[in-house]
C-alpha cells in the first residue's frame, strides 16, 4: 500500500464520511417531519411507513455520493506530479507507484459507496421503510460501484497530464456529463454526438436505472441489462486507469 496516498485518503475520507454521517444523523433526528416523494416524470409516489424498497433502487444515490468523493480522489496522480521531487525519487517504478495510488483510491471509493448504502438503509428505516435485498441486488451494487470507479478513472485520465490548474476539470466534468445526458434525448446530429460521448460518460450508464426495478427501460440511454452495463463500466474503469498508469510516468518536468 502506498503510505502517502493512505494518509491523504484518510484525511479526505474523514471529511466525506463526516458529511455523510451528519446528513444521516439529521435525517434520524428530524426525519419524522419529512416525507419522501419520488417523481419519475409520469407519476409521483410517496414513500411511507411499511413500504419495502429493493436494495438495487438505492445504488444510484450511493453511486452519487461515491462519485463525488471520486472527483477529489481522482486527481491523485496530478497532485503527486507536483511533488515529483519526492514521489519520483522513491525506489519504486513509477508505473507501480501510480498503480498503488489507484488501488488505495479505488478502495476508498468502494468504502464511501458501501457506507453511503448503509447510511441510506439506516435513514429509510427511520421512515419505517424496509430495504429488501432482491435477487438482482448484488449485480446492481457491483454496477453502481463500477459507475463510481469509472467516474474516478475518468477524472484520473483527464487530469493526470494537466498542470495544477487543470484540477478544476474534475469539477467541470459533472456539468459536462449531465449536459451530455440531456443532449442524448435529442435526435439528429447533436443527439448522435452526445451518444458518442455517452460511451465514456459514467453517468450515462446509470441513466434509467432508478426508474425501473426490472432493469433497463426505454428511458435509459444505453438499453442494456444491468450485468452488461456493469461489464461496460468496469471495462472502461480498467481501461482509463491503465492509460493513466501508462501516461503519468511519461510526463516531463
Amino acid at each position: 500500500m502506498e503510505y502517502v496516498e493512505f494518509l491523504r485518503v484518510r484525511r479526505s475520507l474523514s471529511w466525506h464520511l463526516g458529511i455523510l454521517g451528519l446528513l444521516t444523523l439529521a435525517i434520524l433526528v428530524f426525519g419524522h417531519h419529512a416525507a419522501i416523494n419520488i417523481d419519475d416524470g409520469d407519476s409521483t409516489s410517496r414513500i411511507a411507513s411499511g413500504m419495502m424498497v429493493p436494495l438495487m433502487a438505492l445504488t444510484p444515490v450511493a453511486m452519487f455520493f461515491a462519485a463525488i468523493y471520486a472527483s477529489t480522489a481522482g486527481t491523485s496522480l496530478n497532485r503527486e506530479f507536483m511533488v515529483r521531487d519526492l514521489a519520483w525519487t522513491k525506489p519504486i517504478a513509477r508505473n507501480a507507484l501510480a498503480l498503488r495510488y489507484i488501488a488505495v483510491d479505488v478502495a476508498a471509493v468502494a468504502l464511501v459507496y458501501v457506507l453511503a448504502l448503509l447510511a441510506i438503509v439506516v435513514a429509510l428505516a427511520r421512515f419505517g421503510v424496509t430495504v429488501v435485498p432482491d435477487a438482482e441486488a448484488f449485480g446492481y451494487i457491483v454496477f453502481g460501484l463500477g459507475v463510481s470507479v469509472m467516474w474516478y478513472a475518468l477524472v484520473q485520465i483527464t487530469t493526470c497530464l494537466l498542470p495544477p490548474r487543470g484540477l478544476a476539470l474534475a469539477g467541470i466534468l459533472w456539468p459536462i456529463a449531465l449536459v451530455d445526458i440531456g443532449l442524448c434525448r435529442l435526435s439528429g446530429t447533436t443527439g448522435t454526438i452526445a451518444h458518442v460521448f455517452a460511451i465514456v460518460n459514467p453517468l450515462a450508464y446509470m441513466s434509467g436505472v432508478a426508474f425501473d426495478a426490472h432493469g433497463a427501460t426505454e428511458k435509459a440511454i444505453w438499453q442494456m441489462p444491468a450485468d452488461e452495463r456493469a461489464l461496460a463500466v468496469w471495462f472502461f474503469s480498467a481501461l482509463f486507469c491503465a492509460v493513466a498508469v501508462t501516461l503519468w510516468p511519461r510526463r516531463e518536468a
Binding site: Y3, L7, D85, T89, P91, E252, A253
Partner: protein, 295 residues
C-alpha cells in the same frame, strides 16, 4: 577500477530550438564533492532533472556506479531541489514515516539527530514551514537514508548562516564516508569551502571542469603598484598568457592563465613600486570563466 558514482557523457537536452544542456560530460567519483557553478540559465537545474529522470535527455548517457538510472538507484540516491518539495498537508513526522516505509537504508536515529540540528518540530505541518525550514526538512530526509549519491540544487537556500555552515559540514562528512556529492550553489564561497572539484557551466556548455586546487595553480594574479602614472599597458594586454588586465588607481592586476613568473618579469620591467603574485580564489576563477567563454 571502479566506475564513477555519477557519470554523465555527452548529455544534451533541447527544448524545441533552445539547447538547455549542450554535450555535457562530467564524472563525480565516490568520496568527492563537485560544485556545479554557472550563471542563471546555465543549465544546472536541467542537468539535475535529466540525472533524476524527470526529463528525457535529447542525447547522451547517464550512469550511477556504471548502471543506468533505475528505481533501485534511489535506495542510495538523495535529491534536494532548490525549492524544497514537501507534502504540505503532512507533518514532518509523517514525512519521516513515508521515508521509513520507502527506503531500506532509512536511519531513524540519524533523522532525529538532523531534526535536532535544524531545530525542527516534527509535529509541524510542512505547509506551515518557512522556506528555510522546508529546506531543512528536505535535507533531513535526504541525509536520513545515508545516501551514496547526493544531488543538491542550492542546498542551503533560505537557511541562516549557522545552518548553511552545518549543511556544508554534512556534505563534507558524507563525502568522507564515501558518498559522491554533486551540488549547485550561487554562493561560490560555499563551493570553495566544501568542494574538491568544480564544474562551471555557461549557456548549457561545460566550460570548466577541474579539481579546484589545479585551477588555483593554473591561474594567478600578478599585482603591481606604480608610484607615478601608469605605464602603457597595451603591449601587455596583447600577451596571450594574460586573460585580462584590471586597473584600479595606481594598481594593475594581470590575470594570467600560465607562466605567471614570466608575466611578472614583464611587468617588473615597467618599474613598479611593488609587485606580487597571488592565487586566484574560486570567485575570480568563476568570473574569468564565464566572462571569456573558454571551451
Amino acid at each position: 577500477m571502479t566506475a564513477p558514482a555519477i557519470s554523465i557523457h555527452g548529455l544534451t537536452k533541447r527544448f524545441g530550438s533552445f539547447t538547455a544542456v549542450d554535450d555535457l560530460t562530467l564524472d563525480v567519483e565516490p568520496g568527492s564533492i563537485c560544485g556545479l557553478l554557472g550563471p542563471n540559465g546555465a543549465g544546472k537545474t536541467t542537468t539535475f532533472t535529466c540525472l533524476l529522470g524527470f526529463v528525457r535527455p535529447t542525447a547522451g548517457t547517464i550512469a550511477f556506479a556504471g548502471a543506468p538510472l533505475a528505481p533501485a538507484t534511489f535506495q542510495t540516491l538523495s535529491y534536494v531541489p532548490e525549492r524544497a518539495t514537501l507534502y504540505d498537508e503532512f507533518t514532518i513526522a509523517e514525512h519521516l514515516t513515508i521515508y521509513r516505509r520507502a527506503y531500506k537504508r532509512y536511519d531513524e536515529a540519524r533523522a532525529r539527530e538532523l531534526l535536532a540540528m535544524f531545530d525542527l518540530d516534527p509535529r509541524k505541518r510542512a505547509g506551515k514551514l518557512s522556506k528555510g525550514m522546508r529546506t531543512a526538512v528536505a535535507l533531513t530526509l535526504a541525509f536520513s537514508i545515508r545516501p551514496e549519491v547526493l544531488i543538491l540544487d542550492e542546498p542551503s537556500s533560505g537557511l541562516d548562516p549557522v545552518h548553511q555552515r552545518q549543511v556544508l559540514d554534512l556534505l563534507i562528512d558524507a563525502a568522507a564516508n564515501g558518498a559522491a556529492v554533486l551540488f549547485s550553489s550561487h554562493q561560490i564561497g560555499q563551493v570553495e569551502r566544501a568542494a574538491d572539484a568544480v564544474a562551471i557551466m555557461k549557456k548549457g556548455k561545460l566550460i570548466v571542469s577541474s579539481v579546484i586546487d589545479d585551477l588555483k595553480t593554473g591561474e594567478k594574479i600578478v599585482e603591481a603598484v606604480f608610484a607615478g602614472p601608469l605605464p602603457d599597458l597595451d603591449a601587455l594586454a596583447a600577451d596571450p598568457r594574460i586573460i585580462r588586465i584590471e586597473r584600479a588607481g595606481s594598481t594593475v592586476r594581470a590575470v594570467t592563465r600560465e607562466d605567471s613568473d614570466e608575466v611578472a618579469q614583464r611587468i617588473f620591467a615597467l618599474h613598479p613600486k611593488s609587485i606580487r603574485t597571488i592565487d586566484l580564489n574560486l570567485e575570480e576563477i568563476f568570473m574569468n570563466a564565464v566572462s571569456e567563454d573558454r571551451t
